[in-house]
């Protein structure tokens, strides 16, 4: 984010309310306040070229992997298999980049102080920021994956035409499920990033904290579950319910269970969808609550 972008962000709440509504600070309701913040965040996202660049990079990487892995010419499910592991790494990176400066930026520029003079509560600020950036993250994940989807549609499979063929268990619906799950996963990590950005007070600590959060999401939580399974605290019966403690494993489990296993057949269950969804929801709500507390208490 450039300094110019940062400066423009300040137009958000302070400027628009008067010009757009024509009312000088007519006491807006909670919804109005949140939507104003959402709009401010959206403008930030739209103006920050690095976000667009990040989306383009993600698209290039995913298309490259789909092509190099041979999945794209084979079908939807093979492509999902090819991009799954890269997605597990790339989606958290994208979400953290989108979120880690959100509230930290307001704090650095003293805008959090300004907000205190408005009738806006911490949770409204956090929710608005989250929703605004969420729209950006959703686009950053959806657009590249949709391009890959289109790639699969238009890549011809080499076949012997003399034999009868059929699609098997492959289906565009399965790829669409991957897109939805990737979006959900991105939103969860975004919430964690927002929480991090609410807890730190300087750009330097913000960057370190964001990197640390990434490491925890990418490696730490899975390592903890592996340790729990190997060392004993997690019984064999409870592993499938413990997996969602890591959002990464919850995401992977849902993709395996709802996209890949559908095609691959039998074997032990990959995940409990309900537990996974519950885990992802808990991480999101928990992170937003932490962010709210951070905004309130760390002034």
């Amino acid at each position: 984010m450039t300094d110019g972008d940062v400066a423009k962000e300040t137009e958000g709440v302070t400027g628009t309310e008067t010009t757009e509504t024509g009312h000088a600070y007519a006491t807006p309701g909670a919804r109005g306040l949140i939507s104003a913040i959402v709009r401010r965040e959206l403008r930030t996202v739209a103006r920050t070229r690095t976000f667009a660049l990040l989306t383009a990079a993600l698209a290039a990487i995913l298309l490259g992997i789909g092509w190099a892995g041979g999945g794209m010419e084979s079908g939807y499910v093979p492509t999902v298999v090819d991009v799954l592991t890269p997605l597990e790494v790339l989606v958290p990176i994208v979400a953290v980049v989108f979120g880690y400066r959100a509230i930290l930026g307001d704090r650095e520029r003293g805008e959090l102080e300004v907000f205190r003079t408005y009738p806006i509560s911490s949770w409204q600020l956090v929710l608005g920021t989250y929703l605004g950036r969420a729209i950006g993250v959703v686009l950053a994940v959806t657009v590249p994956l949709t391009l890959v989807f289109i790639g699969v549609v238009f890549t011809e499979t080499e076949r012997l035409r003399v034999y009868a063929t059929h699609a098997g268990a492959d289906s565009p619906v399965l790829f669409a499920r991957l897109i939805v799950l990737a979006v959900v996963f991105a939103l969860v990590v975004l919430a964690i990033a927002i929480a991090v950005s609410a807890l730190v007070s300087s750009a330097r600590t913000g960057l370190v904290a964001a990197a640390l959060a990434l490491l925890v999401v990418l490696f730490g939580l899975d390592l903890a579950i592996i340790y729990g399974f190997v060392a004993g605290p997690l019984g064999e019966g409870s592993l499938i319910y413990a997996l969602p403690l890591s959002p990464l494993s919850a995401f992977r489990g849902l993709v395996l269970e709802k996209v890949i296993v559908t095609a691959a057949g039998t074997g032990p269950r990959a995940a409990s969808p309900i537990a996974s969804l519950f885990g992802l929801a808990a991480w999101t709500i928990g992170s937003l609550v932490v962010a709210t507390l951070g905004v309130e208490h760390l002034e």
Partner: protein, 640 residues
Amino acid sequence: MNERSQLVTITLLAVVLVAGAVGLFLIDAGSSQPEPVRFDDTVTMGLTLEDERALPDDVDLPRVQVFYSQYEYVVGYYGIEAFTATRAQDGHEQLFGYPLALYVTDYSATDLELDEDGYPRTDGFGGWVDATDAHFVVDSEARTPAGEATLSFANREDADAFTAEYGGTVVDWETVLERPVTRDDAETARDRVDGQHAEADQLVESMVPLRDRPVSVTVDEGQTIQKAVDDAPDETTVFVPNGTYEERVVIDRPITLAGPGADGGNATIDGGGNGSVITVEHDDVAVVGLEVTGTGDTLTDRDAAIDADEWDANVEQGYGHGDAAVRVINSSGVLVEDVTIETRANGILVRDSPDNVVRNVTVYGSEEWIDGFMGVMTMRSPGVIEESTFYGGRDNVYTHRSDGVVIRNNGMYGGRFGVHIMHASDTLLADNVVREQELAGLMVMTAPQRTAIVDNDVRHTPGGIRTSGSDSYVARNVLAENELGLTTNAETSIYEDNVIVDNEVGVRAAALVPSNRVVGNTFIGNDVHAETAIGSLRFWSYDDRGNYWEGAVGSSEDSVTLERSYTPTDPVDRSLHRVDGTPTLTRAPVRDAIAGLQGTVPGMRGGSIVDQHPLCEPPQPELLEAAGVDPDRYTCEAQT
């Protein structure tokens, strides 16, 4: 737009998006049951070309067609047993996924009867029925060329009526799947090798008395061999002393015609360039120790009397009646040994003569293969061809409908094919040295079953060993400096412990249905170790053991296998043994990220080969040494 309507719009949009996203998980992801297709359009398994051609038209074998969840081609099986046996293979479900739909022949709609062979005969194909809805008759008198047959009916009453006439029990599909599968497969071919060698030894041994027959007549100067043959009593030897005899001989009595060839002498029979020189028309004849020359040059006799009703009449016409130095017709237990032949057509032609032995024979054929014919041609004549040497001609050994023929310890130099197998199952090709054929070394055609190709050494050919059919065993062969070392066209077969070095392409996997076990083979110095054109992802490992690939990288904890998989069809992996820098490139995390899960839906993948457990060192060092490669350079320690 005022704030309220804006809010309504956004809310509506959000609801639609979320509902759509949730809906994606509620709908059935397109695995609706496909309709049956024409059987001719399926990728077919379980029948030899001979059966397909030779069976009468109204024989309607039970068939299965399967739509696998992970495999884009519809697979057709002749015989329900062929399907259940394939299904019982290791890794079958991993490769193909589960059956989305499974159809079997419906005999309810036909006037089914069994013929004297137990083959089902009908007035026409009765259509398909979903296997889960069908009723199956097991343990009845019904048969297919492969053995016992399970027949399927849409209606229970028809199944009951069938059992009333032909015996058996009516069961459902689940029960059929649970029945133990007994079917001769590649392991049968493997386990047969030693026994087949022993049987061949026995047959050769049984010929020794023919060589020990007492000499009753010695051909005198000025006398013809034919006269001596006509004069000799049965079970005796006609001896041909040194010299050249310009005549053609017909042997129609059980005698031995012997020259001094084995003792360093030279008795030559010269046929004068017209027709066959020696013709054997009686059981238990032996032709030994002679040189034969002056054959005619007729390759195909258009006037030969042939039963035109036989399905292979055109093959017999084309290949079964050419001129030969020695011709054996309708005679069993014939021995041809220590004979040297120079021929413009066939060397030895054996037709309808089982249990013959051709041994220590040398055949000089034409310089250009197109001008000559076969070194040994066996037509409907299983026997043993061993320890012989062939130079030039068309095919050094050509065998047609000679099930169980043994071709071993021969030297084959030049010609079109070294060995050419047509319509012959259960054959054994062992310990042959094959060099410089124009088209291929050992050529198997026409989809036979249980071919065993072991311990051969094939070099300098456009195609070393080319397989066909199914349930075959190809092992311990050396394939060096060929354009293409080996093909794995024979399905549900085992290819193991072969040494494949310095070929342009080591192995080409061309079978559409990946059903082979390829393991323990050594790939060194090939431009391309292995390639595949079509079909799905194949796994070339079995029981956590794969093949040795020069260039494969990775560490080994047990000094047996590498922990990294190797993909010979991958553009980076395939260059590992030739291009500097590739060992670093292939270890890039992004490649690991892709490779990690790739085995998950192999049946859906384009044609590729993955060895998940590459070997750390070549498993056959002695063979490697025979191929001119120092095995010490490739040991596990030498590389890591």
